[in-house]
Amino acid sequence: MEERSLHIVIVGHVDHGKSTLVGRLLYDTGSLAPEKYEEIKAASGGEGGSVEFAYVMDHLEEERKRGITIDVAHTFFQTAKRRYVIIDAPGHKEFLKNMITGSSQAEAALLLVDITQGVREQTRRHCCILGLLGIDQVAVLVNKMDVVNYSEEAFDSVKGDIESALSGVGVNPSYIIPVSAIKGDNVADRSPNLGWFKGPTVLEALDSFSSLGMEDKALRFPVQDIYDMDGTSVIVGRVESGSMHRGAEVCVFPEGRTARIREIRKFMADDIEEAATGECIGVCIEDGALRRGQVLTDGATPTRSGSIRANVFWMAGRAWHPEMELVWKGTTQEARARIERILKRFDPASIEVIEKDAEEILPAEVAEVEIRLEKEVVVDRFTEIPEMGRFVLEHLGEPVAGGIII
């Protein structure tokens, strides 16, 4: 089995069957405990004995009563190939921040499209978000095939729409698979009802995706905190990219001065020579003091700037306006910020550019902006070092937008 688990987000328009698919996937792979199944069956009520597979994920009373998903839920299952973390995201526009929260943790996505409805508003919006977040492993599941009697013609006509809609937001689906989540066709097992379809089942599609590899990149170590350990100053943080070596000379940004790594510390481990990407460590340096938000680097120089160009997606329920005070947060860095210019804004549900040089950003819109920061920060392009190329904007302590540095 592969070492790392793969995180998959399930997205799509309201009622296109996201939660049902997850419930079905767990049930068909034997990942659902019998007594949980009984609990769901009981909670489904006596409606002709049908089981609401969505209840596996929709656990809030409000969700079950209203038949919707409000917040993102994570669940776990595994195949012979690897472990999966399945992130079920809500489909309503009003819960977009929850959908983005879920998607921000994913490496691949399953997009549900109801065959009777085709591509809808949130289908487009979600695709656009996936594109912005750099999630390019996407399988489209054309759901509710049972409703159209598993018709190949119906599938083919929707398939064309999906391909053209997705290419508009820069997403190239790896597969487009006809399924019925409620009946279980083509989810874990190949369905005789869909014998005409030669592609993979959902499970096979998942297994064909790959974990994002750890590439060999330049070191980025944002300082998280400083601890005083018996008079020694220990700098703690996580290696966001590259690796840290004892004895190496590193650059301290944003100042740009150099420092030497004297020691790498971890509890219950002695004599550490190297720390890899993703490791939380302590380091002691030879020269000078550090503070949170500084970044230790080597190799390719990051961008140091008081102004950044980015795509932001507005998650807050209220619109952005020019007087809004914002705080920019990227890795452990923080700075007061102002959106100085909106180069363009658009509603991802329609993809048309609404306005250039706009004066506002409405909820659920995406905008290309120029952000002015009160001090210099250290960043990389998202496409180069994703960990250093993404950020959150807060207003009065509330996260209101996510951003990708372009």
Binding site: E3, R4, S5, G30, A33, P34, E35, K36, E39, A43, V56, M57, H59, L60, E61, E62, I70, D71, V72, A73, H74, T75, F76, R83, V85, K97, N98, I100, T101, S104, M214, Q224, D225, Y227, M229, V234, V236, R238, R265, K266, F267, M268, A276, T277, G278, E279, C280, G282, R292, M315, K329, G330, R390, F391, V392, E394, G397, E398, P399, G402
Partner: protein, 267 residues
Amino acid sequence: MDHLTALENKSIFIIREAYYRFRNIAVLWSIGKDSTTLLWHCRKAFFGKIPFPVLHIDTGYKFPEIYRYRDRYAKEWGLDLIVARNEEKIRSGMGPDKGSKLECCTELKTNALKAAIARHGFKAILLGIRRDEHGIRAKERVFSPRDGDFKWNYEDQPAELWDNYKSTTHEEDHYRIHPILHMTELDVWNYVKREEIPIIELYSSKEGKRYRSIGCQPCCSPIESRARTVDEIIEELTTTKTSERAGRAQDKEDAYTMQKLRSLGYM
């Protein structure tokens, strides 16, 4: 990086972030495998010396083994242990059979925690809950704000992107921090094995039964099991078809008891 190391690093990052953001925090230790794993991560995050108190909510109904284990490792690991009890309700005879389980959990756990937070002014509490334990916990954020009445506003949780957590507080608020939310039951046992974390003997089979989830004695039922060692427990979990909290009475009163408990501030 292997699976367990990746999970550990994620947890350590969160613990350090909580400590940086709030400083005045505590970690809740129920003595079970999850909170002991969390405690282990805290020890690693701070190089062996946890710089904040370790809080044990004592309902008076805990297993005797819990008290023995607690006192032994509190001393061995140099913990700043705080034991919080709702003395008034314990004395007045509150119990799971008096009124509802919902009421008992609320008084002896939630309200005891509430009082401890107020007394010590904690701005955040680290908790060892996990997403795979329960459908409600699957919906939790890593940094979860609670108001002065402990209410969890599960219908409007803050966005949480790329380890940037909302952390602003008003006077009465506190945060629940969930560093091991991403671990599964099996992950925890595999980690316990790898790290050789001492685990309370209640998890080991005695006379054909063992506890899979540990809380108060009257509300926990053991499962049929012959698993005595950590290896045997892992073996059992990879084949079992029952869920972890099947032996926990408070989950069963009705389908939404856990949601109600948690919205009131239960762990």
